[in-house]
């Protein structure tokens, strides 16, 4: 949900003024800006990360490589955004649950998951995920057993994280594509776990 209308009109005006100054000075090109927006709205999204996760469930060698050097795998797969930024994949297990946050701002593996959801940019989430991850997860509807260790990963400009959720039970007969369809964006941030029907 956005602010009230007058504030939006002001942001809109400020943005257009800034863009026209930058365009006039040859620092941005409106056509390539449109392409950037188009790309982020239609091409990149959680389906990219979901493909990696699903493949890691069916291909043990791929999984090993992903956990050892996710950035190398992402670059092999021709994913953008990892020239100067590292990527680390962390796997959930019955005894470990991983959760990703960016306490500084909103660093996020955009080319794998699309743009970050609003709650990821929430000051409350950014502050509390590190201090009190169990309760944050509980508020998200995920009540972990006390025996499960919660590991919180704080993203930076230098390193981004991808959570490999556990493969849901009862999915042995599914194809990679069918499995990928089960993998949600939030499960790859660690905000939820997966069930076979994809929703909790």
């Amino acid at each position: 949900m956005a602010d009230d209308k007058p504030a939006q009109a002001d942001y809109d005006l400020r943005t257009r003024a800034l863009v026209s100054v930058l365009t006039r000075k040859g620092l941005v090109d409106p056509a390539s800006m449109d392409a950037v927006v188009e790309y982020h709205e239609s091409q990149v999204g959680p389906h990219v990360g979901a493909g990696l996760v699903a493949r890691s469930w069916v291909d043990p060698d791929y999984r090993r490589r992903l956990l050892a050097d996710a950035r190398a795998v992402a670059r092999e797969d021709k994913l953008t955004g990892f020239q100067s930024t590292d990527l680390v994949a962390v796997a959930n297990t019955p005894s470990v649950h991983n959760l990703v946050v960016c306490t500084l701002c909103s660093c996020y593996p955009w080319s794998l998951l699309g743009l970050p959801p609003t709650w990821y940019k929430d000051s409350s989430y950014r502050a509390r995920a590190v201090i009190d991850p169990r309760n944050v997860l509980r508020e998200f509807g995920l009540d972990l057993d006390d025996e499960v260790e919660v590991r919180v990963w704080d993203s930076t400009a230098e390193v981004r994280y991808l959570v490999i959720p556990e493969r849901p039970p009862g999915t042995d007969d599914m194809s990679v594509d069918e499995l990928a369809a089960l993998v949600t964006r939030d499960s790859m941030i660690g905000a939820e776990t997966l069930t076979a029907i994809g929703q909790q």
Partner: protein
């Protein structure tokens, strides 16, 4: 990060939200400028992360805890400040450009009202 009392007053977190990329067109534009800057090597991820983080911290310092909805407003503010700090533009140039854009919008609206 923030003192626990203030944090405790924040509402419970919810993952519910409409699954849209940008809520308003200006957010997409402001986003695209930063991507262009980074891809053309004018700006590093590190510098942008620091600038955005400083903007968010300043807002929180003013007591403006936000639920992520004003995120692109901070993004835009950080971008304007970057352009001014780098001497790409100046605050008065931006203000003049806004005024001109506003006048153009006004003019266009009047023209549209006049046409049948």
């Amino acid at each position: 990060m923030g003192d626990p009392d203030t944090l405790a007053q924040l509402s419970l977190l919810s993952r519910d939200e409409a699954d849209q990329t940008f809520a308003e067109p200006w957010q997409a534009q402001a986003f695209a400028v930063v991507v262009e800057f980074i891809e053309s090597g004018r700006l590093t991820q590190e510098e942008w992360s620091q600038r955005l983080s400083a903007e968010l911290k300043a807002a929180e310092g003013r007591g403006e805890y936000d639920t992520g909805e004003r995120y692109y407003a901070h993004w835009l503010a950080a971008l304007e400040r970057l352009a001014v700090d780098r001497d790409i533009t100046a605050w008065n140039e931006l203000a003049a450009e806004r005024e001109e854009t506003r006048m153009n919008d006004h003019h266009r609206r009047n023209e549209q009202l006049k046409s049948p």
